[in-house]
Amino acid sequence: MDTKLAHLVDDLQLNLPGVVPTGIQPVLRNVLREFFIETNGWQQTISFNTSPNVIGYTLTFTTSADPVRLLSVADANSRPINATMPEGWLIVIPYAPAAVETWTATIVTTINGDTDGDGYPIFPEWVLGRHYDVVLNGVMARMLSQIAKPYSNVQMAGYYQKQYKAGLAGARHAVSMQNTQGGQRWRYPYFTKNSRQGLFPQGATQSAAGGVLNPLVTKGQVMAAVSALLSGGIFGFEAWVSASPDDAYNIALRYAEDAVALQPALLAYMQASATATPPGLGLSASAASLQWSTLLAAAQGYAR
């Protein structure tokens, strides 16, 4: 038995007089199943080979897990595919590929009925390292709410259930942030959810217009792109959007989020002499401020 699992069982026996490990096991199984379904916490990437003229693929998977929902499917070039998972491990793609390729599917999974030699459910070890209290509170709530047991206590069950639900929400948020602290605050628009991971495939290159196709760009790259945008004239923004909508969209998305951080540099750029290197716009402070506001509003409006 894993050390953390042993600690969990110890904690439960300390808090629930009269409980036996064999009574903990089915409750732990139910709590973990709910935890993974609610939080998307257990994601697995599975490769599968496509065949010409075939749109349905049943994935083969050896880990002790059941599928919950499909997060994404990407083709051999990492382009997102709008696939579905109607039942079990069956992946249905919108069109039949022309050749044999290796695609990847990212799937949220949860525990199945498999147990280890001691009768405990099989699940990833990191779960208890990261969400120990959540699981503990969930098991406590369910154990205390059982009928006719030495440890039955409806009042305390309610207390632990509240703690558990709060922990579940926190875990769900942590998973959605990919367990980062203070990371990117922006997120993809609503219409990309459940269908595509992003607007642009990971690994795409920077465009000639200065836009960045990869959504995971650095602030420096964004500033360079915005500088290119400004060099075309503030009021050329809409025209530039028409010419390169994908690039403009991506920049605007980041630009609106990073506007506060970028503002001093951009204002300085606007006010710099047009003859400087690199050339600035040579605007007065008031004109720069006005155009900054115009640009920001346009970027934010587009990002929405």
Partner: protein
């Protein structure tokens, strides 16, 4: 003292009932009947005590709860599959059950106390 085997349980029940000198008032058959019935009662009240597949007479792939409850046909060194926390309760059940069977001395009230004690220990913190 340890309460691991059928022999241990029988010895403890006889000590509580002051029946420690052979020939015993309560025979081995009485004891076996009591412990077998006690396990059936424990299974009814606390199925979680019987979730361990290794205790049950089945293979591990099917649920232990759908298997038969263990029973014994000899007072020997066969282990009794009962969690340590509830072994005393089983002893009390055996005490009550053998006294229920007793027709020579009517001790139903005392037997009832033992049987109720068993139920209370199985379902509550009461000792």
């Amino acid at each position: 003292m340890a309460l691991d085997t059928v022999q241990d349980y029988t010895k403890e029940v006889r000590r509580i009932l002051q029946d420690t000198v052979a020939p015993y008032r309560y025979t081995d058959d009485n004891m076996l009947s009591a412990i077998n019935l006690g396990l059936l009662e424990a299974r009814r009240l606390r199925p979680d005590l019987f979730m361990n597949a290794t205790y049950m007479q089945t293979n591990a792939s099917s649920s232990p709860l759908r298997s038969s409850v263990p029973s014994f046909n000899a007072v020997g060194t066969t282990a009794v599959p009962m969690d340590p926390q509830y072994r005393v309760a089983l002893v009390y059940y055996m005490c009550g059950q053998v006294q229920i069977m007793d027709e020579e001395t009517t001790q139903d009230a005392r037997a009832t106390v033992f049987l109720n004690k068993f139920v209370a220990q199985m379902l509550s913190l009461q000792s």
